[in-house]
């Protein structure tokens, strides 16, 4: 009876263990590391950083008020924790950005590869920096390490804004390519109609020209936007403002693409409509 009881208890414990196993292990499927996953990681890390930062601010105030050894030790601990989480936040953010770029179509290969290399170098720098922080023995060491990261972050921000710009450019390129594809098909169709001479193609050709002009204008706006980001310097005070300016240009480019597409719609409508016969006296 006892044996039965022991074996049943063992089975019961096994079931509990099975229930407590993480879903990922149970399903035997390693979830793909995509942008969503990377972004979740970043959000979580950033949340822990915000918390650590609040604790650092409290510990700093206590140290500056009381100047005791206990307060100093606590300040050292909280500053170290906050700095490590700050580095980790940047690292996970850059990883999410990298994944977003990888999942965006329309980005030119050479641009994407260059940014991959730069992003990887930044990720490595912040990882190393985070690991080296624990060797700091005093508050002064930590302040020095923080200053290193501060200086580095100015350069990192440029890379961040350039990557964001390339992502937007990719999106616009993708739409532009889709419109261009239709333009090519329409050109073929217009040529065919013209050869058959069963319909006047003058108006349709005009619409086509207008649509192409809009696409060219759109490309000009994209180039301007990218140029602003390329000209960004580490010491620029308003990097965010520069990025907003560039973003605005992307939006203008988007409007041109929309116009080009609506012109093509009009063109199709024109092809579908019969010619109006002019009255001859």
């Amino acid at each position: 009876m006892k044996r039965l009881f022991i074996s049943l208890t063992f089975v019961f414990l096994l079931i509990i263990f099975y229930c407590l196993l993480p879903q990922r292990l149970l399903s035997q499927e390693t979830p793909a590391f995509d942008f969503n996953r990377a972004y979740e990681d970043y959000q979580y890390t950033y949340g822990t950083y915000r918390q650590a930062h609040n604790e650092y601010v409290t510990a700093r105030e206590q140290y500056l008020t009381y100047k005791t050894l206990t307060a100093k030790t606590l300040a050292l601990e909280q500053t170290l924790d906050m700095l490590q989480k700050r580095d980790e936040s940047v690292r996970t953010y850059l990883t999410a950005l990298r994944m977003k770029m990888a999942e965006t179509t329309g980005i030119l290969n050479y641009k994407q590869n260059t940014l991959y290399l730069k992003l990887d170098a930044e990720v490595n720098w912040y990882t190393e920096h985070r690991d080296n922080l624990s060797s700091a023995g005093t508050l002064e060491d930590l302040v020095k390490s923080s200053a290193e990261a501060e200086s580095r972050y100015d350069k990192t921000l440029i890379l961040i804004y350039q990557t964001l710009g390339i992502i937007l450019e990719g999106k616009e390129n993708n739409l532009k390519d889709q419109i261009n594809e239709q333009i090519e098909l329409i050109e073929g169709k217009i040529t065919q109609i013209r050869e058959k001479e069963d319909k006047d193609t003058t108006i349709a050709e005009r619409w086509l020209l207008e649509a192409e002009n809009k696409l060219t204008r759109g490309q000009e706006k994209i180039d301007e936007a990218i140029n602003i980001l390329d000209m960004m310097k580490p010491h620029d005070r308003d990097k965010d403002g520069e990025y907003s300016q560039s973003q605005k240009l992307f939006q203008e480019s988007h409007l041109y693409l929309k116009e080009a597409n609506s012109f093509l719609n009009e063109l199709i409508r024109e092809i579908k409509t019969a010619d109006v016969l002019e009255k001859t006296d």
Partner: protein, 143 residues
């Protein structure tokens, strides 16, 4: 003779018992188990307790398995995402169609342009979620 009479009477009496008073299957099984236990070792209070514990464990295990299975099944299926209806632009009807109004290539291009229009409307050029993290870079212990 008297004995035989008594037996006959008792048999008749059993036959007269109404259906409702007859022991059902569960009662019969219970009696059988009791009979077995009476024949063999009598079950002690401790053993009864053990039976109860084992029974409890088995029931809880079954419930746990059902719970885990059902939760796994739920997680495997992604929630259905119903496409939100997009407003269809007002399109004037063509009153005098040309011979190309029903041309398959023209119709295909028209459909593709509609799809591109939808893509254009849905493209997010702000990407607010990807704004760089706001970090406190000025760490110092000076008053």
């Amino acid at each position: 003779m008297a004995k035989e009479k008594e037996e006959i009477i008792s048999q008749d009496f059993e036959a007269q018992i109404p259906e409702e008073e007859k022991p059902n299957f569960w009662e019969k099984t219970k009696r059988k188990i009791k009979g077995i236990s009476a024949k063999g070792k009598s079950i002690s209070f401790r053993d009864k307790k053990l039976f109860l514990v084992i029974g409890g464990v088995v029931i809880i295990s079954i419930l746990l398995i059902i719970f885990v299975r059902s939760s796994l099944r739920i997680s495997r299926f992604k929630p259905l995402v119903f496409p939100s209806p997009s407003p269809s632009p007002y399109e004037e009807e063509i009153t005098n169609p040309s011979i190309y109004a029903t041309d398959s290539a023209v119709l295909e291009i028209g459909e593709r342009l509609k799809e591109i229009n939808q893509d254009l409307d849905q493209t997010d050029l702000k990407e607010t979620g990807l704004n760089p993290p706001v970090l406190d870079m000025e760490v110092n212990f000076e008053e």
